[in-house]
């Protein structure tokens, strides 16, 4: 049995108007992007202690997309944020609640430590099935792992239509409509709900959490979920990992800058231009 077959009973039947779309946003909790990141040479994992944890910046765009959609659809549309991570990062989710999400689900279990990309997507998919959804919205990438593979894998394991790299998003008549960014323009794509969409930063700047949102976030729930709740047919965490990180290395040090010595600006500009041209950069 594969994960895809592990029960599609979660699918909610959409009754007509979109006024009650259940939106779930997957959120990763990552070290503060500007902090200095260290990798434990023993476990080869990112050191998470002593570093401030924040919501993955790309996922803030997904939250924004969900909240904007909720505002547009109105009715009983809800936004749930769904995260998986170490227990001590749970409170980071309050920011999403302060931004306006209705509630949160936090999947945390020592047995999930050491998950590779497959394991992460598998656990998330099982969790999403448990939570139930009409529309899953993901950020395109995580700031720390940066595999960019999770939205695609989730689509597969959930067995729902997937639209990646959306720059705009709407739900009409039980269908999700999106503009997919491509290298030279965009495609207009649609698919029936339930579905998954990953968004780009073009979807719109994430809103600030207002003071009222912050004060109200305390009263919202962050429901816990553990490995036992997932009833996974396959081993997860490090035990089930299909890939192994063998080694890592810091990026090669930057080469010494070449300083242009020129008698005047025009000559200097010409030398720099020729250099860039030679490197095929202009």
């Amino acid at each position: 049995m594969n994960l895809r077959e592990a029960g599609l009973g979660f699918l909610r039947v959409l009754g007509g108007p979109e006024a009650n779309v259940k939106i779930v946003v997957t959120v990763k909790l990552v070290p503060e992007p500007s902090s200095e990141k260290k990798i434990d040479s023993g476990t080869k994992r990112l050191v998470r202690t002593g570093v401030e944890t924040v919501i993955n910046p790309y996922d803030e765009y997904a939250i924004e997309a969900a909240l904007a959609l909720k505002e547009k659809l109105g009715g009983d549309t809800t936004v749930t944020v769904f995260a998986m991570g170490p227990e001590n990062t749970k409170e980071t989710l309050r920011k999403a609640l302060a931004m306006g999400a209705d509630d949160a689900v936090f999947l945390s279990d020592a047995g999930l430590e050491g998950s590779d990309v497959w394991g992460t997507a598998s656990a998330l998919a099982l969790g999403l099935k448990k939570v139930g959804f009409d529309l899953v919205i993901c950020g395109g990438l995580s700031d720390d792992g940066s595999s960019g593979a999770v939205p695609g894998e989730l689509t597969e394991y959930l067995g729902v239509p997937g639209i990646t790299n959306a720059r705009s998003l709407d739900v009409v008549d039980g269908k999700v409509h999106a503009q997919r960014e491509t290298d030279n323009g965009y495609q207009v794509v649609s698919g029936p709900l339930p579905a998954l969409v990953s968004v780009t930063m073009a979807i719109g700047e994430p809103r600030y959490a207002s003071l009222k949102g912050i004060m109200g976030a305390k009263k919202k729930t962050i429901a816990p979920l553990a490995i036992a709740d997932l009833a996974s047919p396959l081993a997860l965490g490090s035990a089930g990992a299909k890939t192994r990180l063998l080694d890592f290395a810091p990026p090669a040090p930057r080469q010494k800058a070449q300083v242009v010595d020129a008698p005047d600006g025009a000559t200097g500009a010409k030398i720099i231009f020729d250099f860039l041209k030679e490197k095929r950069l202009v």
Binding site: E91, R94, K95, A98, Y208, A209, S210, L211, K212, I214, M215, A217, K218
Partner: protein, 382 residues
């Protein structure tokens, strides 16, 4: 004893920092140059809930505490002092008197729209001939036929003439006390009261994007019900407002100092002299150490005053110490920040030159350094 901020305080501080760095800081230089009041930033601060931050939710506020308020003012001042005073004067001086002394009806009429940022409000204590000596108020208000008839002038009143301003609450002599001294009361004067006019904005050395004007009252009439609090309690009420205001002005001073420190630190690491970054010279390191050290000391005292206020303690003395010390620290820090920048620090394009100008008012407004020392000496029983 616990020095940790709670989750709300942390989240509010993070929000204020994110907002100030992303939206306020990039605008500060231009606003200062153009003396442009930041209407759009006020609108954004309104949306975020900053303009009614410490007031209860039932009056349209965000219901946050004084610690959160001080942290917010600090973060905004770190980006721009003009924007910070616009917010801080609105909250601490404009709206607070209604919260403290207003009847329920006055709270609904004034505090609710003020907390919601729909309207700004001024606080008019200072006069051309009564600043530190605020008890020497020359402005008179006489009760005639159910109306207060006001004559006099107020000087240097913040937020008194913007397009959003709804009015100003002023101190005025409403009679004589038994001991022969003037009886001073607080009167609410809406912008459209007949006989009330505002001057053009003053030309200022600092806080140039904030709105400061002179107010003139010539047979200005307002209804009798516009008395705020008890008749004769005006000075006492204003002094109580200023006690709380000191926490926010102190936060404003230290926010400015932090902003100058941020600039100086970045510049010291980047500027090369004698073949290395100037941050490698011990003389520069010592300056930066002293700057951050003093900022931290002042911050502790500000947060202590805020904590005392939140916990219903008598906070007046701590707030006054915090205001005095933070104002003086801000002077030393901006001075060294410019020094670390060398000649560039004297140039308009460098934020430290604006901060240097914005600093001086910290030692004058809401009680000069001298007046703080006077007040403190009195509190210490001297």
């Amino acid at each position: 004893m616990n020095f940790d901020l709670n989750d709300d305080q942390k989240a509010i501080q993070a929000l204020a920092r994110e907002f100030a760095q992303a939206e306020v800081k990039p605008r500060a230089e231009q606003m200062d140059r153009d003396e442009a009041f930041p209407y759009d930033l006020v609108a954004k601060m309104t949306e975020l809930g900053f303009m009614g931050l410490p007031f209860p939710e039932k009056y349209g506020g965000a219901g946050a505490d004084t610690v959160s308020y001080a942290l917010t003012v600090m973060e905004i001042a770190r980006a721009d002092a003009s924007t910070a005073i616009t917010m801080a004067a609105h909250v601490s001086l404009g709206a607070t008197p209604f919260y403290l002394f207003g009847t329920e009806e006055q709270k609904q009429k004034y505090l609710v729209p003020l907390a919601a940022g729909k309207m700004l409000w001024g606080f008019g204590l200072t006069e051309p001939n009564a600043g530190s000596d605020a008890g020497n108020t020359q402005t008179r208000a006489q009760l005639r036929d159910g109306k207060w008839v006001i004559n006099g002038t107020k000087a240097f009143i913040t937020n008194s003439g913007t397009d959003l301003t709804g009015g100003t609450t002023i101190t005025a002599a409403t009679g004589k006390r038994a001991d022969g001294k003037p009886e001073i009361s607080n009167i609410i004067v809406p912008q459209n009261a007949p006989g009330f006019t505002r001057s053009k904005k003053y030309k200022k050395m600092g806080w140039r994007a904030s709105d400061t004007r002179e107010l003139a009252f010539v047979d200005c009439e307002v209804p009798e019900e516009n008395l705020l609090g008890e008749r004769g309690n005006g000075l006492k009420q204003f002094l109580q407002v200023l006690d709380g205001g000191r926490i926010s002005v102190a936060a404003l001073s230290i926010g400015l100092a932090l902003g100058a420190y941020d600039e100086a630190l970045a510049y010291a690491k980047e500027r090369q002299a004698f073949g290395k970054p100037i941050s490698k010279f011990q003389a520069i390191q010592f300056k930066l150490v002293d700057m951050l050290g003093e900022i931290e000391h002042a911050k502790l005292m500000i947060l202590k005053a805020a904590w005392e206020k939140d916990n219903g303690r008598d906070f007046a003395q701590t707030a006054s110490f915090a205001k005095l010390y933070a104002a003086e620290v801000s002077r030393r820090v901006v001075n060294e920040a410019v020094q670390i920048h060398g000649g560039y620090g004297f140039m308009d394009e460098y934020p430290v030159s604006r901060m240097y100008r914005d600093q001086k008012i910290n030692e004058i407004g809401e009680g000069t350094n001298e007046v703080q020392r006077l007040v403190l000496a009195r509190m210490m029983g001297l």
